[in-house]
């Protein structure tokens, strides 16, 4: 298989439950070695998409491929190369932590014992403890150990940090996921669906935002930060913003920008890919100060899904 074969390839995916379209014509590609964010509001179709990807749900239409393989026809080949950590994970209650890890290992050809020991220590999980006595966060940690130790090429995470305390969450994201990807640079792929976008900020290379089963925005994180910017501007007097179509030269023309805050002489606007144009128009009114900063991914997510999106 060539290096260019996408780790995940989804084309026009449609999945219906009765008359409800959970996913409606979604397409995306994830290149190997990337950390891909998959964002959306509750009920947007994220988990349904992931279940189609894992062959837990049959698509109503469209196709899904993992490493160029159809997960239905090449079930074992696909499952051997990926690992999944769901939002709610359960284990067999009669097994201890050690039993569960051994059980998962028995299905694998390869198991990284060094990683296993390191993660058990890091998460302070007691091997002899019954899984029925683990907290939700500890169960997620155990799921992560059984997912990472086989050194899979693709790690699929569905709201993995819900239920984790802030310290473990930070460690989980920055240390464990980061270290996992660094263990196979350019090869190991992470596909993460989460609401806690800000926590994954530094890891995400590319992302897709979906809403009502449809793709709303797909972009690399760098491009997104470049395009979506917040401009803070202060004038000597309170500015007057022109209405659409107005040609009054004394008022501010903010076409292509969205005002998010206006207080006396200060103004805050969001722009999408036309920062220099908007700044040029603001400069024409001789502001006292103009500052710009990139939006965080979470702000981009909120901005994108708000009813009045920033015009491009």
């Amino acid at each position: 298989m060539s290096q260019q074969t996408p780790a995940i390839e989804i084309d026009n995916l449609v999945r219906r439950y009765g008359r409800t379209d959970a996913v409606n014509g979604l397409s995306l590609r994830v290149q190997p070695g990337r950390c891909y964010g998959f964002f959306g509001r509750n009920g947007a179709g994220k988990t349904t998409t992931i279940k189609c990807l894992l062959n837990l749900l049959r698509p109503t239409d469209g196709s899904v491929r993992v490493f160029g393989l159809d997960p239905t026809e090449n079930e074992v080949a696909v499952k051997s190369r990926l690992a999944y950590v769901p939002d709610h994970v359960g284990f067999y209650p009669w097994m201890t932590v050690r039993d569960t890890i051994s059980y998962a290992a028995s299905f694998r050809h390869h198991w990284n014992h060094e990683t296993e020991r390191a993660l058990l220590d890091r998460f302070r999980l007691t091997p002899s403890q019954k899984t029925s006595h683990l907290s939700k966060g500890q169960r997620t940690q155990l799921a992560l150990i059984t997912a990472i130790c086989p050194d899979p090429d693709l790690l699929v995470l569905d709201e993995p940090t819900s239920g984790l305390d802030p310290i473990v969450r930070r460690e989980f994201i920055q240390t464990v996921i980061g270290a996992y990807q660094e263990g196979g640079p350019g090869k190991r792929t992470v596909f993460v669906s989460t609401h806690l976008i800000s926590e994954f900020e530094g890891l995400i290379d590319e992302f897709t935002i979906i809403d009502q089963g449809r793709e709303v925005l797909t972009m690399t994180a760098d491009d997104a930060r470049e395009r979506y910017r917040k401009i803070y501007v202060r004038f000597s007097t309170a500015p007057r913003i022109s209405a659409a179509g107005s040609e009054d030269p004394a008022s501010l023309d903010l076409t292509g920008a969205k005002v998010i805050r206006q207080r006396d002489r200060e103004l805050e606007v969001l722009v999408n890919g036309n920062a220099s144009d908007v700044i040029g128009r603001l400069d024409a009114h001789s502001p006292e100060a103009v500052e710009t900063e990139a939006l965080s991914l979470e702000e981009i997510f909120v901005t994108t899904l708000q009813s009045t999106a920033v015009p491009a």
Binding site: L56, S135, A143
Partner: protein
């Protein structure tokens, strides 16, 4: 406040009514089918089993549904007095158990097919006892075991064990009955005390499983630092499947214990011991075959481990085949093998016989249970759904399939008679051919059930459309099978009536 109570009462009815309706359907169907000319056989036992299981399940589910749905915390956090909450649950359960009791009582009283259950305190043991235990013991045991399945099983098993011990020590029936009623009253009072102090414990409480009694931490047989080894997935799967069948083994263990008690008692005084090996073995066989099929997939889903399990890198079809093979093996071993062995070692005084029809019955119940388990969210729900669904299938078979089979027989008779005459087939060969055909039809049914179960097992889709499609397939198979069965019957009839029959 009144609105909250009304809503709560409606919720209790809504939660229990489907199971109550299923058991009512089973009691009525089995009684009606038992009254048909060919109907006696297992039908009275099926009706009584539905009554016994139904009472225990309704009592257990009254509180057990909160464990299964993980809603106990929400329930207890409501601004309603706990006594009111339990009062509502008890009232709703009493109404439903009462209606089931009245139906079963009427069936036994009116129908002539229950002579055994009317004799020797049978009404107390099989009708009154389960209703009382369902209202008193089942809720208490469910809270103590933190699971509806264990609550239901033990609320049947403990009174049965008590009855056997009373019988063994020569306690007369009236005294034993008074003790049972006394214990039930005490259990009813204890239910109120336990419910008023009920805690919602995270983790363990959320797991229905067989029972917390069986989930206690045990000393590790292996060193906790032993590194994990790869490979050997089959052994891991088999071990896991056996563990999922724990409640099946517990039920069979209680049967074994009962047999041992009876055997010992008989050696002491053969006349004084009331024995009912036929009923006991029949109940045991049906319960084991149903549980062995109903538990494995549904319990795995209930534990939240189903998707994690399916995504392990062994094909889901292999995992399902191991699951099915283990369920069938456990069912045959415990439902047929154990009673046969016990009967060989310590023969029962009443007539116990074993034939291939029982094997077919066990396999049909187990594969049917597996199919139902593949789309259920808890083992108890799967087991409870099995009985009414089997009853509905029998009703469908008795009304629709038998008519089609009869029609096919009439239509095929002339052609089959000509063919039989031309080929000169002997009546022995025709019988052999027909029997083989019936067995193949049964094997085909098991294969279809297992194949449809696989589709549910590997999919996270819980919408009704796949289920409707699958039931249509089963109906088509039933219709085709009825036509084949009718033709086979025609063959046997033609050969028997022909002058060339040898």
């Amino acid at each position: 406040m009144m609105t909250a109570i009304r809503v709560q009462a409606w919720k209790e009815f809504r939660a229990l009514t489907p199971w109550w309706a299923g058991m009512m359907l089973t009691v009525l169907t089995a009684t009606v089918l038992g009254m048909t000319p060919r109907g006696h056989g297992p039908f009275p036992m099926a009706a009584m089993l539905a009554h016994v299981v139904g009472c225990a399940a309704l009592g257990a589910l009254a509180i057990g549904q909160e464990y299964s749905n993980r809603t106990l915390g929400q329930l207890l956090a409501q601004p309603i007095d706990r006594r009111v909450l339990l009062g509502l649950k008890t009232a709703v359960t009493a109404i439903l158990v009462g209606l089931l009791f009245l139906t079963s009582h009427a069936a036994i009283t009116v129908s002539q097919i229950f002579p055994f259950y009317r004799a020797q305190g049978g009404m107390e043991i099989y009708v009154y006892g389960p209703a009382i235990a369902g209202l008193s013991l089942a809720p208490l045991l469910t809270m103590l075991c933190r699971g509806a399945l264990a609550g239901a099983v033990f609320s049947i098993a403990l009174p049965a064990l008590g009855a056997m011990l009373a019988s063994m020590y020569g306690v007369d029936f009236a005294t034993a009955w008074r003790v049972f009623v006394g214990v039930a009253v005490a259990a009813f009072a204890a239910t109120w005390i336990v419910f008023s102090r009920l805690s919602v414990v995270d983790g363990q409480a959320a797991v229905e499983g067989p029972s917390r009694l069986f989930n206690r931490p045990m000393p590790d047989v292996r060193d906790a630092a032993t590194p994990s080894t790869t490979g050997g997935w089959l052994r891991s799967l088999v071990g896991k499947e056996l563990r999922l069948q724990l409640m099946t083994f517990v039920v069979s263990g209680l049967y074994l214990l009962s047999w041992a008690v009876f055997s010992i008692a008989r050696t002491v005084d053969p006349q004084s011991v009331y024995t009912a090996s036929f009923v006991m073995t029949g109940f045991h066989g049906v319960v084991i075959a149903t549980l062995a099929g109903a538990l494995p997939a549904a319990e795995e889903r209930h534990l939240g481990a189903a998707e994690w399990q399916v995504l392990l890198p062994v094909s889901s079809s292999r995992q399902w085949m191991v699951k099915s093979a283990m369920a069938v093996s456990v069912a045959l071993t415990l439902a047929i093998g154990v009673p046969f062995l016990l009967h060989t070692i310590a023969p029962a005084p009443d007539d116990l016989s074993f034939d291939w029809l029982q094997v077919l019955g066990v396999l049909t119940l187990t594969t049917g249970g597996l199919y139902i388990s593949s789309m259920s969210t808890t083992g108890l729900r799967a087991a409870l759904s099995s009985l009414p669904l089997f009853a509905a299938s029998l009703l469908f078979g008795a009304i629709v399939l038998e008519s089609i089979s009869h029609l096919a027989r009439q239509l095929a008779l002339p052609a089959v008679a000509t063919l039989a005459s031309w080929s000169g087939i002997s009546s022995m060969s025709a019988m052999h051919l027909a029997r083989t055909g019936f067995v193949l039809l049964a094997v085909g049914l098991w294969a279809v059930l297992i194949r449809l179960g696989l589709a549910n097992y590997r999919s996270a889709d819980r919408s009704p459309s796949p289920i409707v499609r699958q039931l249509s397939w089963l109906a088509v198979y039933g219709l085709a099978g009825a036509m084949v069965a009718g033709t086979l019957n025609a063959l046997v009839a033609a050969v028997h009536s022909a002058p060339f029959a040898r």
